[in-house]
């Protein structure tokens, strides 16, 4: 697993209080990990903080799974 994926996973586990095993790439924050809309706002803020990037609202809305988050962050870091 990439360094980014590790960090994303860690943030998700901490913020949503879920078991690590549940945080699979396909897991949806809301449907599978028990997040509500405010939780997802907080998650995105945590990603921004951790990776030193800006995630605009329209992009944030499309980040619904763990994989979405990892891919978006890696693309931003590469840019």
């Amino acid at each position: 697993m990439s360094d980014t994926a590790e960090k994303v996973k860690k943030i998700v586990v901490e913020h949503l209080g879920v078991e690590e095993a549940k945080v699979t790439p396909e897991a949806s924050f809301i449907d599978d990990l028990g997040a509500d809309s405010l939780d997802t706002v907080e998650l995105v803020m945590a990603f921004e903080e951790q990776f030193g990037i800006e995630i605009p609202d329209d992009a944030a809305e499309k980040i619904t799974t763990v994989k979405d988050a990892i891919e978006y962050i890696e693309k931003q870091k590469a840019a």
Binding site: L38, V41, M45
Partner: protein
């Protein structure tokens, strides 16, 4: 005037919960209170070196089994960041009260007839402080999405309703240090008037933080002369008193319509028989000079209970240990009770726990009910040398066994808001 005794719907207390500087749990706290223990200590959780007041009544940290508070035992870690400490304390007290009542709504109809009315004097002050620091540091965009719902006062009621599925009236009170009594009195009226059959009611406060302490220091309200001997600082009516001691905590009661409680065979602690309010219309922080606001709140409460002052055996005073307020309240009691003042016991339990602001009235309401249950008046600690004599027995230093059947509890707040509530032994 609306009168409880005349109403076909009477209101009783069937559950109680406390978290306060003497610990967590009604019976544990009551035992320590009667033993003359104090919950006041030096503040160590933040730097108080720049402040003249360096002590407070703080909820002891530790396990539930020891009668202390480990919030992880009560609220999942991921939910804790969504609520300020005052809401967490409200949830802890509510959990004990609801458990104690033995009641949970089972049908939709029952859920819709059960409400919540928990207030706070100040609400999420530590949360507001943290957010303000972030904004001040140019990080306005990094404010938590939970900042607002964490700080809002009515979210204590909101969280409690969500946890227990209570879909009746969801309300809150904000009347500074009179909040707790207003919450209980207003909730009792909602039941008496038929808006609900059950109300989970009380107050919560957690303002022992940097700006809370600084703010009350600035208003010259706090004791500053006992920083080295914290347990001696809160000394209502004593000649050496020099201000109140900040406290934190929550008190929550389950109030229930009498027939509803009887039908389910509930344990009934006491009946709410009277409630009275008044305004000083005088000054933003000082009580009216003649104590008339306190007098009228108590008089109105006794009127609504349709009893004479002489029928009350115990008063739990507002008695914050301020030079001005204590004697004004005492004077108002002497004036209202007249010749009956010499048979009356009145104590201030703030001597042991400090001033819990918006939670004070709820916690002290519970102490008043326990005074009726156990026929014992809890003591006023540190009352070594009263600043003046009075026919009213202020229960100095030691608890007193007394035939208490009716108790009145007072709470007065900044803004000149006064409230009194009267409890009677279970019918």
């Amino acid at each position: 005037m609306f009168q409880y005794g005349a109403s076909p719907r009477r209101v009783v207390v069937t559950g109680m919960g406390i978290v306060c500087p003497l610990g967590v749990g009604v019976e544990h706290v009551w035992r320590r209170l009667l033993a003359g223990e104090s919950g006041i200590s030096a503040i160590q959780s933040f730097d108080v070196s720049a402040l003249p007041a360096k002590i407070a009544g703080q909820v002891p940290a530790g396990s539930r089994a020891e009668g202390k508070l480990d919030i992880n035992e009560w609220i999942p870690v991921k939910d804790q960041k969504k609520m300020d400490r005052f809401i967490q304390l409200a949830l802890v007290a509510a959990e004990e009260a609801v458990e104690d009542s033995g009641w949970r709504p089972e049908t939709e109809e029952e859920r819709c007839a059960a409400g919540v009315l928990i207030g706070s004097g100040i609400g999420g002050l530590p949360t507001i402080y943290d957010a303000a620091l972030q904004v001040g540091a140019g990080k306005a965009k990094r404010i938590s999405p939970f900042f607002i719902p964490s700080a809002l006062i009515n979210l204590a009621s909101g969280h409690v309703s969500i946890r227990y599925g209570l879909k009746g009236p969801n309300h809150s009170v904000v009347t500074a240090c009179a909040t707790g009594v207003h919450a209980l009195g207003d909730a009792a009226r909602l039941i008496a008037l038929g808006d609900a059959d059950v109300m989970v009611a009380g107050g919560a406060e957690a303002a022992v933080c940097e700006i809370g302490m600084a703010g009350f220091c600035a208003s010259r309200a706090l004791s500053t002369g006992f920083n080295d001997t914290p347990t001696r600082a809160s000394r209502p009516w004593d000649a050496d008193r020099d201000g109140f001691v900040m406290g934190e905590g929550a008190g929550v009661l389950v109030l229930e319509e009498l027939e509803h409680a009887k039908r389910r065979g509930a344990k009934i602690y006491a009946e709410v028989i009277g409630y009275g309010m008044s305004g000083d219309a005088y000054h933003i922080t000082a009580p009216s000079e003649d104590g008339d606001g306190a007098y009228r709140a108590m008089r109105n409460a006794l009127r609504s209970a349709r009893i004479a002052p002489g029928e009350v055996q115990y008063v739990n005073a507002h008695g914050t240990s301020t030079p001005l307020g204590d004697d004004l309240e005492l004077g108002a009691v002497e004036r209202l009770w007249g010749d009956d003042a010499k048979g009356l016991a009145m104590s201030s339990t703030k001597s042991a726990i400090g001033h819990l602001l918006g939670a004070a009235g709820a916690v002290e309401g519970i102490f008043s009910i326990l005074a009726i249950r156990d026929r014992v008046a809890p003591p006023t600690l540190n009352l070594e040398k009263p600043s003046r004599e009075s026919p009213v027995d202020r229960v100095a230093l030691q608890p007193q066994e007394r035939p208490i059947r009716v108790a009145l509890s007072n709470s007065f707040g900044f803004g000149g808001t006064n409230a009194s509530i009267v409890f009677r032994a279970a019918p």
